[in-house]
Symmetry: D2
Subunit: 336 residues, 4 copies
């Protein structure tokens, strides 16, 4: 089966190139009777919109979403929900100078290897960050569905600066979405420094799910961490994922790693949470803690050496890419 | 869809509990006409068999595999290949003392939360390490299929001791499967030290795929790293996965992370391999490098505090578990 | 998994209600480099457009299709192809009188039972015939892909009048798409007669695939006839499907049913084709012959007794539905 | 995805050849806590066992089933349930004379076309009737699961003799599983007549589901009739399937076909059941009525002309096949 559909119970099918007529998603399997308006979705899109602060990409695009199906009289009908975002800015001539260059750190070459054709407009248009915005509205239900769970996301680390503590109400107060008021200015300084030098930085996003009921996930191939890992690794810039103690767990002894169970009323809890809320592939009712390693964005404005497909000569020089450093914060605090 | 089947082109369906009649797999989608004997598979099983060295679990089980279908006259027929391993040792009375205890670090509690029944024989029998052995034969084809790719796996790090270099021919020479002859004795010492104290250690497994053709993987949800990550995170002890520079990439600038392309004859290559062989979700022809963080095994012989389901009192003391420290090395060098 | 996606190698995801903003499909898995223009698709849509002849529904809608993604410079790129048809006519007030009535033969009641909400605009809007038009462009590739196979479809029977012979060039010459010039006028007369009486008629569509290579299909659950049957039975009006001799095969003896094989050069053929081109679930290289039983359309202009959800009284009288008798011919002759 | 796994919520994966070591199924997704013993399953297998009466195949095989996993202390655990039936009779030398002959009506040729290898032991062993027996236990839950629905199956027609009425308690009283005591002797006479002449007969199986709740099925591709049709068409001998009025519906007018709704207390029902319990792809609470056209078995003892792969000459004469006429009755009355 082709790979543009994801999910078991709620499936998300994605389409669109960053420089084509539009991008969108079809969500199938949503329950009927849930309140959903175009404003609910637009708010999420606006939150991630580029050009909001000095540390993000300056493109000022206004993505306007339209609901094509699945909603009637403000309620979901149970049938597929299709969303469409028209691309405003289709001046692919902006990219003419990239027509023959393989941009370092981009997927130009692998797309050619797979498909045999090259959509030079945005090189790897289908993959580029913009279409990903079409998925953003997909998890709108997290807030609306009566699961009782809340999701909180923030920058745990940017350019090597680590948030030492998590103060949920701080997250939305700074453009770095850093939960530690002491670390935030340092993160922003590092981003601006890199940006001034035509460069980009990476970081680590941490997501915490509170209130997830125990019993979710499957014991073998569809372990909860495997499904979440699959989803997170399908976000373009992610190069690693870890749950709970993650890579640090490899340096602990079993006696230190094993979380000690105790009874909290009728519910079992553990005194530590090295397991990150998932044991044996199944949620145990503790907070689910998962981290994604995001590499620095490939598009930088410094000149880089690369290959020119016309000359097939190497090395050549890539023109300065138009997209300066930015650090995506693809998750959010729903219940701070 | 339930989660005991994995794969798109070749699917693997798993079944069996560690203390039931047997464990097995059904592989569907294998091409016809490939040479396959029961000895090919048995050799792989023997390689991982417990009790081989002082640093692994002392259980001396002889898993004998049987091919139930899909092979005729030594060749695959194209129909599903079913493999069965009978469980020799079903003395579940060994586990009687665990009947009411939730073992720390195990999935006893989450299984109960999901299924509402408790198979106390091995607590989380379906998940336990032994059934995983049934999957081992699944990738037999790596060697037989004419892909040209070779796979090499080894312990990059055990108990904090890191292999500084990779000498492929060293891997099979030491029980730690360490590719660095200087680090191997240190790793073994740390394992023995922990074992003497009734404890266990974790580590990092690194897998390198050489000769993978460019163009594999999908640009959106089924990125090659997402599919590999899903598979690797479905191995019980894995708590994190990273590709190429992985988590270290988050501390690099874009100009340092972006691998510089050059032409090697008619083929594009990159001077560095921070991408770990995958760009935009699609293999680029460089070595695929992927690492798995494996937590220390949960079964240790030291006493631990836990909950007793009879008394529902907490804390109580877990009896010493019978399975001492072991470090699984689930991957292997096919072409050293 | 929800049921709005179909297919293994090429998947089709559908969305849209007949009275919402629009309807569409996302096709994933199409190869790259295939010529495809919006005109190619529009031509197929126009062919089935209502209002073309006296015997079809008089609604004169002009479905205009737009390609949203997956095509660049007139060639497919290998990424998902999304198509959108805007609904022109959204006067749901036309249906106000149906707000509380369950239309006989329609799915009003079952939709309510499943989803708990009622989109009275078109009652079962997601299911209604119009959205199905969005799938029509999906098999455009049949013509473009270099498979060598050709597909021919026609009315084998309408209102009990059977086409005694198949003259391919006759199919497009009459609005009944009947391949027998003698039967065509009789079919049309029966349709007009029913229409004059505010009623509708059913029929049997026959599809013949010529040049299908042997070896397609799977031996167990995904037999070729099972996959085709699944697809055909997902067209709303279909109440039965049969392959080759079909139901008549149940009245033949084995010696008469078994097709006698013979060698035609290096290729095996059979002297008869009772198997309809599929043996053991796999194509055998003979013509694939499949028939679909299409019930008479549920929307008729005669008054019918039904239930009124306000009064919950029964029987009441349904208002005359606005859509007269029509007979859909959803398949076409590609190589007459 | 390969085609040996079927199902959305409960999946069934099948394996095994009729002349290999064994056949079996893996069922995933069954709920935990359901009582299930090996005797429950064995009873179903015995019911269909060949050699029970004069009108079935005389092979006297005793299929003994074993539960390999998924059941503990007589209850399902929620993990995959694997069943294995060992093949007793592996004398493939019985089939030596067929080594080079393509048996008319069998899938010998198409298997060769698909897989390129020929398992001459049973020609199309994976497909042959025997492995299908492994699926039989799969729906054991129909009886055990608390759905409230009951399933009844019987021979509606054999060799052209039609059951005029359905008396449930008659079904198990005659070897033809005919629900009409007047038609049963005629059906048996036709079978015996064909058998005496070395021939086989076909028939129509009718299945009725009573008490199915409304709301099951999906509006587009996974219509209930499409899913059932897929499943039924994957039984080897089936050449057609129809729901409710089926092919006869094509000769009715809309006003006659549309079932008139009325209120039966708080539940909507229809006065007729031409829809066969499914409207718009979703169950409506009326009886689900579905029929399968089963061709006469291909294996007959009369000589037939065929192709010899050694000589590649045509026509040749097939040896008399060893399996006389039989009529499978693959469904059963659960609540007579």
């Amino acid at each position: 089966m082709p790979g543009s559909t994801f999910g078991r119970i709620l499936t998300v099918t994605t389409f669109g190139e960053s420089h084509g007529p539009g991008i969108g998603v079809v969500m199938d399997g949503a329950p009927s009777g849930i309140a959903l308006t175009v404003e609910d979705i637009q708010k999420e899109l606006d939150r991630r919109r580029p050009g909001q602060s000095a540390i993000t990409t300056p493109r000022a695009e206004k993505d306007k979403v339209e609901i094509l199906s699945g909603v009637f009289d403000g309620l979901t009908t149970g049938t597929p929900i299709a969303l469409l975002i028209r691309n405003e800015d289709k001046r692919s001539s902006d990219y003419d100078n990239l027509k023959s260059l393989f941009r370092p750190g981009h997927a130009d070459w692998t797309y050619g290897a797979k498909y045999g054709v090259r959509d030079w407009r945005a090189a790897a248009g289908h993959r580029a960050g913009k279409p990903r915005r079409a998925w953003r509205p997909a998890p709108w239900h997290e807030r609306s569905w009566p699961s009782g769970a809340s999701i909180m996301g923030y920058s745990r680390e940017i350019a090597g600066v680590r948030a030492a503590r998590v103060v949920p109400e701080e997250i939305e107060k700074n453009p770095a979405r850093c939960p530690d008021p002491d670390a935030a200015p340092l993160m922003i300084a590092r981003i601006e420094e890199a940006k001034a030098q035509g460069d980009s930085v990476g970081g680590i996003v941490e997501v915490v799910v509170q209130g997830c009921p125990p019993g979710l996930g499957d014991p073998v191939f569809d372990k909860l961490e495997a499904l979440l890992g699959h989803a997170i690794l399908s976000v373009g810039a992610v190069r690693g994922v870890e749950i709970g103690a993650g890579f640090e767990a490899t340096r602990l002894r079993g006696s230190a790693y094993n979380d000690e169970p105790y009874m909290d009323g009728s519910r079992m809890r553990t005194r530590t949470n090295n397991a990150g809320g998932i044991a044996g592939g199944i949620s145990n009712g503790m907070d689910i803690v998962i981290r994604a390693a995001m590499r620095p964005p490939a598009s930088i404005s410094r000149a880089q050496k690369t290959v020119d497909s016309r000359a097939r000569r190497s090395p050549s020089r890539s023109p300065a890419a138009t997209i300066p450093a930015s650090f995506p914060v693809p998750f959010r605090s729903l219940k701070p």
